[in-house]
């Protein structure tokens, strides 16, 4: 038979309450406990107190005191539990911090412009003046002054789009005190390279020259995986006394390593009518580390830009003395750079303006 002494009944009830309290987690749970233990009609503490009649007379005083202590303890415990529960509850106006935030819609800068800005920044750090020129040009500045007289076979290298009638081209150089609002008077074609600006610049500015001309250029090429009729170029020109092919090499090593990271740079002889000697500049393939893969057509090298020492005929055309000054010029395609840098294998993606593509370039 279990201990049925009044004292043991009190302790049993206390233990029961503690167990129940530890499981209670809401106001409702506490209210139920309050009712079950302390209700004046049906509470188990009240019921226990009623058993006082069964307690021997000499122990009644002690029993009564013990039950009252239990009652007070339960009351205190419940009050504390309620307070704790209240304290843990969010204050008025509290928010669910796990809900998504209100999105700030933000756009993206086009990857070709992103690359262009990087290239511009690299050359700015090297002390180049960055300037833009008109997109429509005349034959003299686009071809003739660049050692490509009419009927020159090299013109075939740049299939040109011509305007049905001449228009006034854009302005350039307004920021230069010497050349305010220079303008193309009668443009007859869409420039095939930004080199036309080099002629305009040299004709109005004495050497030394250190410029970079970014911008859109146009060729009569059909749209396919690797060609577009319009593309983005940055062309540069450095002219001064004693500028050499070695300077050209040093410039490209510095520039390409800033643009692509740790790459090797090599020059291959090539041909451009406006440079002599001419060179294609390659960087080591990063996909394979130079051992050869599909990206680099198993050569380990990727062609990245065309360059060369400015042809004396170009200097003569702008009134510079080729016996006194030398220089180098180069052109780099932003599409080519972006394709290699970001692993884009279809040039058309740059001109579809698909948000699913653009949004892959964080602002």
């Amino acid at each position: 038979m279990p201990d049925t002494s009044p004292q043991s009944a009190i302790e049993t009830l206390r233990a029961d309450f503690r167990a129940r309290l530890s499981a209670a987690s809401t106001d409702r749970d506490l209210k139920i406990l309050d009712d079950e233990f302390l209700s004046r009609k049906s509470g188990s503490v009240t019921a226990l107190l009623k058993q006082i009649t069964a307690v021997p007379a000499d122990q009644r005083r002690e029993f009564g005191a013990l039950v009252n202590t239990l009652k007070t303890d339960i009351e205190t415990a419940l009050t504390e539990a309620r307070a704790a529960l209240t304290a843990s509850r969010p204050p008025a106006g509290a928010v669910d911090v796990t809900l998504p935030g209100r999105e700030i819609t933000i756009g993206r800068i086009h990857p070709l412009m992103r690359v262009r800005q990087q290239v511009e920044d690299i050359f700015m750090r090297m002390g180049y003046e960055i300037l833009e020129g008109p997109e429509v040009e005349d034959d003299y500045h686009n071809f003739e002054a660049l050692n490509m007289p009419p009927d020159h076979p090299a013109r075939d290298m740049q299939d040109t789009l011509y305007l049905a009638a001449p228009i006034v081209g854009g302005t350039w150089g307004a920021h230069r005190r010497a050349i305010p609002d220079a303008q193309v008077r009668a443009a007859t074609l869409l420039r095939t390279h930004t080199s036309a600006m080099q002629i305009r610049y040299m004709k109005t500015t004495p050497p030394p020259v250190r410029i970079l001309v970014p911008g859109r250029v146009y060729r009569r090429d059909n749209l396919d995986l690797s060609h577009t009729p319009m593309f983005q170029q940055c062309e540069g020109l450095v002219v001064g006394e004693g500028i050499t092919l070695a300077d050209l090499k040093g410039t490209f090593e510095a520039m390409l390593q800033q643009l692509f990271g740790d790459v090797k740079v090599r020059l291959r002889p090539s041909f451009f009518p406006y440079t002599e000697p001419s060179a294609e500049v390659d960087i080591s393939c990063q996909s394979c580390g130079g051992t050869g893969c599909g990206t680099c057509k198993h050569t380990g090298w990727l062609e990245i830009l065309g360059s060369g020492m400015v042809h004396p005929a170009v200097f003569e055309a702008v009134g510079y003395d080729p016996e006194k000054v030398t220089g180098f010029a180069f052109g780099i395609g932003m599409e080519r750079v972006a394709m290699l840098k970001y692993g884009v294998d279809d040039i058309r993606l740059f001109y579809e303006n698909d948000l699913r593509f653009l949004e892959q370039f964080p602002l």
Binding site: R108, E120, L131, Y218, M230, S270, P273, E276
Partner: protein, 693 residues
């Protein structure tokens, strides 16, 4: 230029593999487009596989469009002797070595225009037309040339070997046994070897017989004098034609041939005779026939050898490093230049085949090319003047890009040319700038506005499950009247803000787009206002001109629904667009400097006013009336509520404005402000019949 490796090895004793040769030559200026492995075609039929290397020959090097030309480059690259012409297949005593003195010429050659045809070498041979030997056919095929007959194959073989184009006529088909090199007569026609009848003009040079043209000089022979199976006697032609003339003729006829490609870049006048000798030798060697009579060499336009100075100082000055003298003489000597030492360097005689070498720098390039660009030093150009600031328009465009991206717009790049119908919606037809030789109808005119391309980009995205699209572009637009001007354009469709659980989505409206225009103009530093416009490409009632000091600088509004439909946006949400003339805005902002205003020292007083006015009255007019009537201490007017509906009579609108008053030199009294409010209300009543609510 397709180079058969076994043939190359006949000319120069290079032992390396096709890949090694390709690698080496690509660093000498001859990129290799591809290497095709084929079965061995060498005379000794060794176990090693043969290969065809497809070299990319740049436009300035017609001398390398031949086996001998490439062999010369390979020989110099490897430091080997060559090209060894005595080693080649079919080498034997040449016809020129045994002149047949006394034999009467079997053909008469007359050059009417020595400018256009400085040299014409002709010979007659009796032949038995048949197939050429298999080794010759195999070599032609490896180079991509179809074997035809022993005679035609010999001319093509010489073309490949020496790079000099030749032609063979059937003597029996030449009227009066005559070759006359003359300009074509107006309206003359010729049926060329490709079977096409072509009409000639007097700016084209032809080879004629006694009566009519039998070949387009340097471009293609005629079908009627073609060598056929019944031909008994041939006339061989080995001439030199003016490059420009051949180029113009080829372009005009739209006819590009192996011959025209070489002549227009510049053939070697000296090679005309060697090629003839070689062809006769080959014909005799393979048993195809025998020359009859002497070779006729008409050479009225003899070219002198170019001699030019090459200075050591200049080599160093251009390359930035010294090239040892033995390397200079080895390289140039190997390439066929003759060097005579002088005090400063050398006097160099240029072989006639090197049409690209006309200046000292051309010689320096030859030296650098074969010395190796990789062996030159690496330096960095010294900065000898202070760097210049960048063109501010570039920096401003960067700034605008950032602002628009922060406003939720992504940057698009669209083409500068669009279709004529797409352009016509945005400009007068007479103001469009058509392209003379467009790629297609889609690229027929220069864009008069950036918007058509941008709207196409919106449509592209709509078709790909995108609903909320904001795009912008900065770029040139073109018109006959104003020429090329730079513009900034935005297009926006879908929601005004991203969807969120706590709010209701609202579609973009006019005022969202107008706010973008305000933001852009503010960034440039100009203040603009808008007024209703009637641009047909915008929706009536939701279109405005953007004005700057009385000049229109742009437009903003909803794209006309019919126009949206035509761009493939059928049934889509409205598209709001804006376009601004960036050149005009920048010009207006030029010279404006940023100056700070002192902060206010006295408190401001605000008063609200609610009025009933006609609903057609522009808010700008009300503002103007208020500003005019108020004293100078009215500093701000802001519309904060506009209401139509219950309690407002039809045709009226309830407009609430908040007016802020502040003086810079005192605290305003109630009486002063009330006086201002009274004056304002009186003016509104008088001018607009406004009723205060």
């Amino acid at each position: 230029m397709k180079v058969l490796l076994s043939w190359l090895r006949e000319l120069v004793d290079v032992k390396e593999s096709a890949q090694q040769v390709a690698q080496k030559m690509s660093l000498r200026g001859f990129a290799v487009e591809g290497i095709e492995a084929i079965e061995d075609l060498s005379a000794e039929a060794s176990a090693t596989a043969d290969a065809v290397l497809d070299f990319e020959v740049t436009a300035n090097r017609p001398d390398c469009m031949s086996m001998v030309g490439m062999a010369r480059e390979v020989a110099v690259a490897y430091g080997l002797p060559g090209p060894r012409l005595d080693h080649v297949r079919g080498a034997g005593p040449t016809a020129s070595e045994a002149p047949r003195a006394g034999d009467p010429p079997a053909i008469q050659i007359i050059i009417d225009d020595p400018q256009l045809c400085p040299r014409y070498v002709g010979a007659v041979a009796d032949v038995q037309v048949g197939p050429s030997p298999s080794w010759m056919q195999a070599r032609l095929q490896a180079a991509g040339i179809r074997p035809i007959s022993n005679i035609v194959d010999v001319t093509n073989y010489v073309l490949l070997e020496l790079g000099h184009p030749m032609h063979a006529f059937d003597l029996a088909r030449l009227a009066k046994a005559q070759i006359r090199v003359r300009p074509a007569r107006a309206g003359e026609t010729i049926k060329t070897l490709d079977g096409q009848t072509r009409t000639l003009s007097p700016d084209m040079l032809v080879i004629a017989d006694g009566e009519r043209p039998v070949a387009v000089a340097g471009v293609m022979g005629g079908a009627e004098s073609e060598v056929s199976g019944t031909t008994r006697t041939i006339v061989l032609e080995s001439a030199y034609f003016n490059p420009l003339s051949v180029r113009r003729t080829s372009k005009k006829l739209g006819l590009k041939t192996e011959a025209s490609m070489r002549f227009e870049r510049g053939a070697d006048p000296a090679a005309a005779a060697t090629a003839m000798a070689r062809a006769i030798a080959l014909i005799e060697e393979i048993g195809a026939g025998k020359a009859r009579g002497a070779v006729i060499d008409e050479y009225p336009g003899k070219t002198a050898h170019r001699i030019m100075g090459l200075r050591r100082e200049k080599i160093r000055g251009l390359l930035g490093g010294d090239v040892p003298e033995p390397d200079v003489t080895r390289i140039l000597g190997g390439l066929g230049f003759e060097l005579k030492p002088t005090s400063s360097g050398w006097d160099v005689t240029v072989p006639t085949r090197r049409v690209d070498v006309t200046r000292e720098v051309d010689l320096i390039e030859e030296v650098a090319r074969h010395y190796g660009y990789d062996r030159l030093p690496v330096t960095f150009p010294e900065l000898d003047v202070p760097p210049q600031a960048p063109d501010p328009r570039i920096m401003r465009a960067r700034h605008l890009r950032t602002i628009l991206a922060a406003a939720g717009f992504s940057e698009a790049l669209t083409f500068g040319f669009i279709s004529e119908p797409a352009a016509a919606a945005f400009a007068d037809a007479a103001d469009l700038v058509p392209i003379a030789n467009p790629l297609s109808e889609n690229f027929a005119v220069l864009r008069p506005s950036v918007l058509p391309g941008l709207v196409d980009a919106i449509a592209h995205n709509r078709r790909r499950e995108q609903r909320d699209i904001r795009l912008f572009e900065i770029g040139a637009r073109f018109s006959r009247a104003d020429g090329e001007r730079r513009a900034i354009a935005c297009a926006w469709t879908g929601a005004a803000a991203a969807e969120h659980w706590g709010g209701t989505a609202r579609p973009v409206d006019f005022f969202d787009m107008k706010a973008v225009v305000d933001r852009v103009c503010d960034a440039i530093g100009v203040g603009i206002h808008t007024r209703p416009s009637d641009d047909a490409w915008l929706a009536p009632g939701r279109r405005a001109a953007v004005m700057l000091d009385g000049t229109r600088v742009g437009a903003v509004g909803q794209l006309a629904p019919a126009l949206a439909d035509s761009h493939g946006l059928v049934g889509s949400d409205p598209v709001y667009v804006a376009e601004l003339d960036l050149d005009a805005l920048e010009a207006a902002a030029a010279g404006r400097s940023l100056r700070v205003e002192p902060l206010p020292r006295y408190p401001s007083v605000t008063r609200d006013i609610s009025i009933l006015v006609d609903d057609t009255l522009a808010a700008a007019d009300i503002r103007a009336t208020i500003t005019e009537a108020a004293p100078v201490f009215l500093v701000r007017v802001a519309e904060f509520d506009r209401y139509q509906g219950k309690g407002v009579p039809d045709g009226k609108v309830s407009l609430s404005l908040r007016l802020t008053f502040r003086s810079s030199d005192r605290t305003l009294t109630d009486a002063e402000v009330q006086g201002a409010m009274d004056a304002i209300m009186t003016a509104l009543k008088n001018r607009h019949a406004a009723i205060q609510r």
